[in-house]
Symmetry: C2
DNA sequence: TTGAAAAATGTAATCGATTTCATTTAGGCG
DNA sequence: CGCCTAAATGAAATCGATTACATTTTTCAA
């Protein structure tokens, strides 16, 4: 604010009005396409706009309308492709409704999270879609009293905050059932910290499948990881490979973990799926690029995004919003089907 | 705007002033931490703020200050992880300077691009960092007359728009030289459309390396792709594999392409690197997750982001800004080193 | 031609902050 | 105690739009 800013002064609505010899009200009406302006004056105004190279400032408009036309999206990390597809879905709806997106990565850091919450508090964003499992749910609840908030993928039951998600328990159940049905009995689970709801739900599905087929749980087969990334997948798999009674299959709650596991199994000199079968979760793009390709649970990520965005818009408009559970799907590929090399 | 909005009315600075029995000017001074307020009134004001749960609106502040405190980042697609790391760099600087990021994906679609340009024109963003090779450079040049703009990675020489990038020609040269030095003579190039500067530059480097070692160019060895993604890499590799005089090495100008090539080679029943060696470009995270891991050119992506952001801030403040060429590095991994399985 | 209704346009308040300039209060010193 | 200066505070303009309401102009039927 001290130094000279780039660019010359831009014309404002006043100058356009003066140039066209009309009032600012009339200019505004032309800008907003209202039909109460005569063709003649409309022409005059449009010429003035062109002549002055005028562009209406959204700062003025936004203040007047008390809106920012911005959504804030909260994600833990931009590095997990799972979120990207959801974001695309959100964006599609946002753009079509003249909104734009403020993408905010918390890195699971409460301080950063708070910076982003502040953007909502300070009306820099009209609404918030949280996909961050590490979000401070109390703060979120508080915020939701005065602001439009939707949770996507991860959620908190009974929080009063509407959410879109899938049936994690069922999805996990099906993944494990698939492994059992192709003959596996010793199935490991790479899960993330059970402080997350989805982790607890997916564990439940795992347990239910085992139980249904009368397989007793080997607690050594459950490995928890800190983050859902490649390295954590490698580390988890290393632990599993070193077990005395080594499992023949692994279900991991994230594709990134599964890809790490795949790599580790290979490094160890074993083959997927002949020695160890692997199932992931999410169906990120990369799950199809690995060798072998990864069997995984497909989440309808794009749909989740569009649904979340629509819910948010409804919420902002004061409508009642119901939470939604979307369908998932088991995608069987090489890492469990023996069609690998 | 028709329906009732979510949440109750939020307090504004007027009400705080009234509650504290001071003027709005004083409240503003407290908000901005000015030292011309007595301890006693500061207390009063702070109590009023707390009592009313007041949060200053950025809409008002932004209008008054004629700034949005938003950067706009233009990328062709969020799916290429190459951009993600750069974005993280930009974000780090942005946050530290109290800016936030509007992430805009053009999908190489001029219409979408225009929506985003409008955000700058209409002052919804204070500055723009373009990483989109498909950007309409004429429009960008026009925009840069009145607005702060930086190009990152891809750029246009002589456009007057400052840029950060690497020496693409040299990087490409080194990649190919590496292949030659480990014994390859028949080296294919998977490049993208030569309408992009980086594609032309990387081709130049490829040619220079061949020439330096007296290898004559086989024009069949150069395959151009539409996009820098996995599928295009597969297709390109398929063409190469079907060549009569099959090359023994492939240099591809993007890791995603290279990963597609890797996959295709495997599917074809050949081994990397023993049958065909592969080199990528960018060093995205996934380049280390493949089997074999990918030899690649490391771009200092995070650095590029921070540098671009700093340049943009300088530019916004009216400083002179010089373009910058950052260092790159060849990272030799399994796909060229024979340490694979 | 006139007058009422409809259409077009203008005036001024408003959104919520910041900041300049004027004014009041406090403080220090003789 | 009074005066001068410095500190604290307030009044009002300002940023750039939108819009309720007031006013002017046009239209058209009687």
């Amino acid at each position: 604010m001290v130094l000279r800013k780039v660019g010359k002064k831009l014309a404002n609505i006043q100058e356009v009005a003066k140039q066209a010899r009309v009032s600012v009200a009339t200019v505004s009406r032309v800008l907003n396409g209202q039909n109460t302006v005569s063709e003649k004056t409309r022409k005059k105004v449009e010429e003035a706009i062109k002549k002055l190279n005028y562009e209406p400032s959204m700062l003025g408009r936004n203040l007047r309308n008390s809106e920012s036309r911005l959504f804030l999206i909260l994600i833990p990390s931009i590095s997990n492709p799972f979120y990207l597809e959801i974001i695309k879905g959100i964006e599609a709806v946002a753009i079509s409704q003249n909104y734009n997106i403020l993408l905010c990565e918390t890195d699971s850091n409460p301080e950063k999270e708070n910076i982003f919450f502040d953007l909502v508090r300070k009306k820099m964003a009209d609404g918030l879609i949280s996909m961050d499992p590490t979000v401070n749910i109390e703060t979120l609840k508080n915020l939701s009293e005065k602001h439009a908030i939707i949770q996507c993928s991860e959620y908190e039951e009974g929080s009063g905050i509407p959410y879109v998600t899938i049936d994690n328990e069922e999805a996990s159940y099906r993944a494990v059932k698939h492994l059992i049905q192709i003959g596996h009995k010793k199935i490991a689970l790479i899960n993330s910290d059970e402080k997350y709801l989805y982790a607890r739900q997916r564990k439940m599905g795992y347990l239910r499948a085992l139980e249904e087929y009368g397989i007793t749980l080997n607690s050594q087969y459950i490995i928890l990881t800190q983050h859902l990334d490649f390295e954590n997948g490698q580390h988890a798999m290393r632990k599993i490979l070193n077990l005395h009674d080594r499992p023949t299959a692994v279900f991991s709650v994230s594709d990134l973990l599964a890809i790490g596991a795949l790599k580790e199994i290979n490094t160890f000199g074993l083959q997927v799926p002949s020695d160890i079968a692997v199932v992931g979760f999410d169906k990120i793009d990369f799950s199809n690029m690995t060798n072998p390709t990864l069997t995984t649970i497909a989440q309808p990520m794009h749909k989740m995004g569009t649904v979340a965005a629509k819910m948010l818009i409804d919420k902002m408009n004061g409508k009642e919003v119901e939470s939604i559970i979307l369908d998932h799907e088991l995608v069987v590929r090489e890492s469990t089907s023996g069609q690998s090399i």
